[in-house]
């Protein structure tokens, strides 16, 4: 039996994730946002890119709850569709950082010696790049666009993941179950896959959930700076960028996309915070 089961809290404790009002609210908001994004084509009152469905820069009304933008597009419809971009791009970004960071972190910790010291040095230097500057540098090479922005933010998160995974792996390689796997002649690949990886799962879940909020925020930031999703894509950051110029006359063009972005990041952070309390072996009394 793998020791992962001992590290993971018992299944009944899943209720504990929802145990605080904050986390419960976070989960509720998150479910709403995800449902809104998934069913956007069905529930959005208008086509998100169709222009002149309402008067230009019209204030919020019964027909257009969140008002209209410069091109007479319905902001509510754009926000609902925008969730599809912002949330999936956030997940993609975390997946990139998680997979690459885990591979690198586990490998250098497991190989140890010179590989570890050089790898750690390299990671430390990469951590010295301000994340947004590193992402902008990568966009400069890849070119502007929604996918490239996600890739850039994902890559700029790799050193963060690699560092945590490395130290988590280091704390495991000396343990008896790794020793005994070696003793029975398990290959290095098998030890990494079957013995170390399952034990890293709680750490990875916490890391990914804490990073998702940052990832959504960073990709929206790139779009806001004009380096990510391009108009007329209904992406939240890009919508805020468009609303920037009319905020004095039509503040709803920036209030609502920003509010939804904030709610998305906040709810993800609330859930991530709670998950780290529940899954952290030290906090839950395991180990």
């Amino acid at each position: 039996m793998s020791a992962a089961i001992a590290l993971l809290p018992p299944r009944s404790n899943l209720a504990r994730v929802l145990g605080t009002p904050g986390a419960a609210a976070g989960v509720a908001v998150l479910i709403l946002l995800v449902l809104g994004a998934v069913f956007a084509p069905l529930i959005a009152p208008f086509d998100p890119v169709a222009t002149r469905v309402c008067p230009r820069l019209a204030p919020p009304s019964a027909a257009n709850l969140f008002g209209c933008d410069l091109f007479g597009r319905d902001i509510l419809s754009r926000i609902l569709h925008g969730g599809r971009y912002s949330l999936s791009v956030g997940l993609l970004t975390v997946a990139i950082s998680l997979i690459a960071g885990t591979l690198i972190g586990m490998t250098i910790a497991f190989l140890g010696g010179r590989v570890d010291s050089i790898g750690t040095r390299f990671i430390d230097v990469m951590l010295g790049f301000p994340p947004i500057v590193l992402a902008i540098l990568i966009v400069a090479v890849l070119g502007v666009g929604a996918f490239n922005a996600a890739l850039a933010v994902g890559i700029s998160g790799v050193p963060r993941f690699a560092r945590v995974v490395r130290s988590a792996t280091l704390s495991l390689v000396g343990r008896e179950f790794v020793e005994s796997a070696r003793a029975v002649g398990a290959s290095q690949g098998r030890i990494l896959r079957r013995h170390l990886l399952p034990n890293l799962v709680p750490v990875l879940i916490v890391l990914a959930s804490l990073d998702l909020g940052t990832a959504i925020l960073s990709t929206a930031t790139l779009s806001f700076l004009g380096l990510g999703a391009q108009p007329p894509t209904p992406e939240w950051g890009a919508m805020l960028n468009a609303g920037r110029e009319f905020m004095r006359y039509a503040p709803w063009t920036m209030i609502f996309p920003g509010l939804v972005l904030f709610l998305a990041v906040m709810s993800v952070n609330l859930v991530g915070d709670r998950l780290s309390h529940v899954l952290d072996p030290r906090a839950s009394g395991h180990v």
Binding site: F122, V125, G128, P131, I132, V141, L225, M254
Partner: protein
């Protein structure tokens, strides 16, 4: 070897690796650098050849790399394609704008972060703690570009309390708050846990037993010991200060290094992108070196260990 010398020498390989990464990454930038340098205007073969030689692109890659390292080490950041001026001079011109914003943001962030952190930390799990930590969570979740726009709308447009544009000190208020809020959330969390940890130490109990006032205990005994981890965070936050500046400058239509970086990327001004990245990362490394040195000043135990 004395600690300081060892630490100073340790910076050299870090800078070296950083510059190497920047050089390597920018090799992959699409488009012929010569055409980018000429700004897309059609040119004869001879002009192109001359330009290639002038940029040093006719030499093998390892020579280009060594030239690049030598130039970076001597502070020669090259010439901008677009502005046709030395990159170092362009950066020097824009630096004061960014430095003012960073200083303002740091001030707001420190005041808010320290105050909230202590407020929450002295009575952990009380109502003040819960309220403050909820605020901190909101702080780290707020898109800084959105909060910047909201501040402009509420205090600039609706209430007309502060000017939105301009170069004066009062035009710095809202941008500083925007950057400061960004810092305060993380700082408050860190100070809170540092305070909680120090407040359970024996010397705090001794201070209580001596009958010192609660204020004196926190201000003199706890803060001095709790300040080390937040100082470290501040070093890390310097990176975010740069990042926050990129966004805040755009929201407030301010000049500065962030605006410069975005323009450089959009116009494919490779030397300017390269110079800005080299400059910001090197500044980050040096700030963290200074912070490391600061530990010894703050904490006599660390000073003793290093001697």
């Amino acid at each position: 070897m004395p600690w300081l010398l060892r630490r100073l020498l340790g910076v050299v390989p870090t800078l070296f690796i950083t510059w190497t990464i920047v050089f390597a990454v920018l090799q992959f930038i699409p488009g012929d650098p010569v055409m980018l340098a000429l700004g897309g205007t059609p040119a004869s073969d001879e002009v192109i050849r001359n330009e290639r030689a002038r940029l040093g692109l006719d030499r093998p890659i390892h020579e280009q790399y060594l030239t690049f390292l030598r130039k970076m080490a001597t502070g020669d950041l090259g010439t901008s394609y677009q502005q046709r001026q030395p990159v170092a001079r362009i950066i020097a011109e824009q630096l004061p704008h960014s430095a003012a914003l960073a200083a303002g943001g740091l001030l707001v962030g420190l005041i808010l972060g320290v105050a909230l952190g202590i407020f929450a930390g002295v009575r952990p799990h009380g109502w003040a703690d819960t309220a403050t930590m909820s605020l901190a969570l909101i702080g780290v979740s707020l898109p800084s570009f959105w909060i910047g726009m909201m501040l402009i709308y509420v205090f600039g447009t609706m209430l007309e309390w502060v000017p939105i544009l301009g170069d004066g000190i009062d035009a710095l208020i809202l941008p500083s708050i925007t950057v400061g809020l960004f810092l305060a959330g993380g700082l408050a969390r860190m100070i809170r846990s540092a305070i909680i940890e120090t407040m359970s130490q024996d010397y705090i109990r001794t201070a209580h037993a001596k009958g010192l006032s609660a204020f004196r205990i926190v201000a003199k005994h706890a803060m001095r010991n709790a300040v080390i981890p937040p100082i470290t965070l501040l070093g890390v936050q310097f990176a975010f200060l740069i990042g926050g500046a990129v966004v805040t400058e755009r929201v407030f239509a301010r000049q500065g290094l962030g605006t410069l970086l975005i323009e450089a990327v959009l116009t494919k001004d490779v030397p300017l992108v390269q110079g800005l990245v080299v400059y910001t990362t090197s500044a980050y490394i040096i700030v963290n070196l200074l912070i490391d040195m600061l530990y010894g000043v703050v904490d006599p135990r660390i000073r003793a260990a290093r001697a």
